[in-house]
Symmetry: C2
Amino acid sequence: MSIIPRMDKKLKPSATRKRFALNLRKTREQLGLSQEALADAAGLHRTYVGSVERGERNISIDNIERLALALGVSPDSLLEEPKK
Amino acid sequence: MSIIPRMDKKLKPSATRKRFALNLRKTREQLGLSQEALADAAGLHRTYVGSVERGERNISIDNIERLALALGVSPDSLLEEPKK
């Protein structure tokens, strides 16, 4: 019956999405991989990886797994709040 | 050029999806919530939550966030490998 807090979910990109975007970029850069190299390794398109890193995509759990496998990290680590 | 390991990704539900499904159900049951109560709290449909808990859905990061917020846990905790 309560649908009160839904509106703003549609308007702002989710915090988790932004966190994932930042973690993805950081991990990729630490490995010295280009977006294209990561995309190839994960079986995804380069422009898709770019838009995920900008927080523009509502990425699915299967694609989160693909990117984590390609980076050699656990999927949950890409959703973690950055330490520090 | 290489599209070798893609086929089986389509056939089997991903390990991460199954892990999420199990963690979601476990956390929900620990809180004594029904699928319907969780769905209401997260702004999702009851049948959708049921299919996510069976690993049938390629859930998006925004919906992972909604469920985690409704359960009061961090999104990454729902993707973690179970301890023990």
